[in-house]
Symmetry: C2
Subunit: 205 residues, 2 copies
């Protein structure tokens, strides 16, 4: 792409650094901003700048938060003995939306992935292990993606906790509610038979 | 979506104002920026801010340009008597890439679209008509999208030029090079038969 303007070229380059956005989309977005009132661009840039420079993480669960202790951790009605281990804030939001969990979270900030150069030291695993060793935690629920990396991360944390008395569980894997059996993949279907649950339990929630 | 942070919520809201970007994608982009070094965000925001506040348009063709007269208009080797009328800078870039046009451009900044509240006064039509009336222009090539709005805009400019001696043409519509006839739509195929060209001409370029 040859640009008639360095300003435009530079803006397109920076926008196309975002994941999933190519040069053509970046150009479309830049031209869109040029057609909109100048305030839209200044609102966007100031929101991004503030986000990046002022963002804080909850000192207990490492979730993104504007205050030192996030709303969930500060809520005395929630059960601090049950901790749900998740990758990032999106998982917290997804689980909160279900209204089925009243414990606290621990946000790892990702999962162990040698392919993407993410090791245990890049995640908040040490702080999780310390928290559990300190006592007061009765159960850890692993709620990571059901992938090789998610399983590796679960197992790594599990090994770190050897000798510590804490119940560990993972969220159930199985056929999604509303799904037809014939389209389910073999591994999921196989595991859902092995890990079958009492019929009475399936009526809950 | 319920956010644990106002900063994050605000950033997601502003990103999702961009066309084709929903709340989920906006959240993914915001979290991506948080994981990258702080410089990436500052480079992005400064590039966008500069683009919006310092952008200039060529005084002759209205294309985006860092200088008062764009490179194309300032190039004495180009034929100022032939003007290609386009919607925006992307069309200029696309036609320049073909290497088949040695005249100048006139960038309208859009096309007449009552649905999107774009009237003739929002485009650079007056300046185009003045330029042609001043003389020195032998041909106008309309290179707008082949849509209702594009055709309306072409026709509006054509009417404004009544009584002015200038040749007007539109870029050829027809079967794209490499396309199979059976998949072409009827209107395109029908027009390509009506507007057939001498076989010798098809061997050029």
């Amino acid at each position: 792409m040859e640009f008639s303007s360095k300003l435009l070229e530079n803006a397109v380059y920076e926008i196309s650094q975002l994941p999933g956005i190519g040069k053509r989309t970046a150009l479309r977005l830049a031209l869109h901003l040029l057609k909109q009132p100048e305030e839209q661009t200044s609102h966007l840039t100031s929101a991004l700048g503030k986000l990046r420079s002022q963002i804080k993480f909850c000192s207990n669960c490492h979730n993104i938060s504007d205050v030192a202790l996030c709303e969930i951790c500060a809520n005395s009605k929630r059960d601090a003995a049950i901790i749900c281990v998740v990758e990032d804030i999106r998982d917290v939001m997804a689980i909160e939306n279900t209204g089925q969990f009243r414990g606290l979270y621990h946000v790892l900030g990702g999962k162990i992935s040698p392919m993407e150069c993410v090791g245990p030291q890049d995640l908040t695993i040490v702080s999780l292990v310390e928290k559990v060793k300190k006592g007061g935690v009765s159960e850890l629920i692993f709620a990571l993606s059901s992938t090789m990396e998610g399983d590796t991360t679960n197992f790594y944390i599990f090994k770190q906790l050897e000798g510590v008395t804490v119940k560990t569980s993972t969220i159930a894997r199985g056929i999604a509610v509303g799904d037809e059996l014939e389209y389910a993949d073999e591994i999921t279907l196989g595991r859902s038979i092995l890990n079958r649950i009492p019929f009475e339990n399936s009526m809950k929630a």
